[in-house]
Symmetry: C2
Subunit: 196 residues, 2 copies
DNA sequence: CTTGTTACTGTACGATCGTTCACTTACATA
DNA sequence: TATGTAAGTGAACGATCGTACAGTAACAAG
């Protein structure tokens, strides 16, 4: 039977190395980090971490850290499930919000919301919307649209009459373009930050 | 007068290198990337990019890319201002959502919201809340709390009677702990992703 | 033209890189 | 205890790393 290797400890060591240095360690640095005297000793653990997706190999042959290590937030279950007890030092993966939210980095922009036209969709003034340019909006997608000269945030829709824009606020009504309508982009995510 | 150097082009080249390789280039790779025949030629542009904050130098002497290059979203103005014309190829910095939202990575967790008790605060079922453990909640902070055995998302408050938890839903009422109340963490941000 | 400054080239250097090989140590099983 | 497998050590290899130095090319000012 193969001996048990403490991988979660090594993952934590890789996390702190990345936080301190901002880069992936070399084999020699990993040997020192893990407490080995020879850098060859890390080939075993590295192979396992590659299989588990914690490490990558680039076009040069150096190891690269994946978001499972470099990510800044640990993904847990639902609110109902509550928090894990601080005692259990389990193997928790981290994720990267950028990678989770952004599909096409070159076409994705962040805009600040002003106005309350989408308040009932949970989009408040001051929120950030992550907008992707260039796509074709589907029914009920939230879009950034320029309607008769002014930029707004609305639900996109189409019916027999043509294209329309719906607010998510009972105080406003459905709008249809009189002259021009241009879609700036489709809202892919909403981000709200509390505190200053 | 010093000759003009095209820095924004080099920044774009560094962005595409990072996207392709997932790492920072060496001096030799930068020489090839920028079209120089000698790697010494890049020392000049690199020095300027270091000053402008696009590059860093690590404890080894290799260059590191900052979020101004590796970030995945470009921060623009407000929705009202609309989109910049695609024609203008200006120097736009990118930001990193993780770095923007997360202050203490080791204490930050992501939970999925279930239930509609905070619906009027713009937090819907299925949203992700970014929760920071270990802080002391202030008046009207949104917290993950275990009230009499069950984990919920509520506004935190204190008055002469003691601690209470307020929902953001007219269908529910203020609650006060009968036996125990433990705060799991403070909600620092809300993230909603549209589409699958 | 000449001169001075800057941008760039080409070569060389020690250090470190990842990898390979031979060898020793540790330990479960028989 | 003896045996076999895996883990870890230590030395060596060519390749690439960042840096330094001398020299050339480009160009503005005189």
């Amino acid at each position: 039977m193969p001996r048990k290797i403490n991988l979660s400890e090594k993952i934590e060591q890789l996390r702190s190395f990345h936080e301190a240095e901002g880069r992936a360690p070399s084999y020699a640095e990993m040997a020192e980090l893990f407490g080995y005297k020879s850098k060859n000793a890390v080939y075993g653990p590295v192979k396992k971490l590659l299989q588990l997706g914690y490490l990558d190999k680039g076009s040069d042959n150096r190891v690269q850290l994946t978001t499972k290590i470099t990510g800044s937030t640990k993904l847990l279950g639902s609110v109902q499930a509550g928090f894990p007890s601080p005692a259990e030092e389990e193997l928790v993966d981290t994720i990267n919000l950028d990678q989770y939210l952004v599909r096409r980095p070159e076409a994705t922009y962040l805009l600040t919301v002003s106005g309350d036209s989408m308040i009932e969709a949970g989009i408040q003034p001051g929120d950030l919307v992550l907008v992707e340019k260039g796509g074709v909006p589907k029914q009920n997608d939230i879009v950034v649209a320029q309607l008769d000269g002014e930029w707004t945030l609305k639900y996109f829709g189409k019916d027999a009459t043509g294209v329309y824009l719906d607010p998510a606020n009972a105080a406003y009504t459905r709008m249809r373009p009189e002259r021009s309508l241009s879609i700036g982009g489709i809202v892919r995510a909403v981000v709200r930050k509390y505190g200053k």
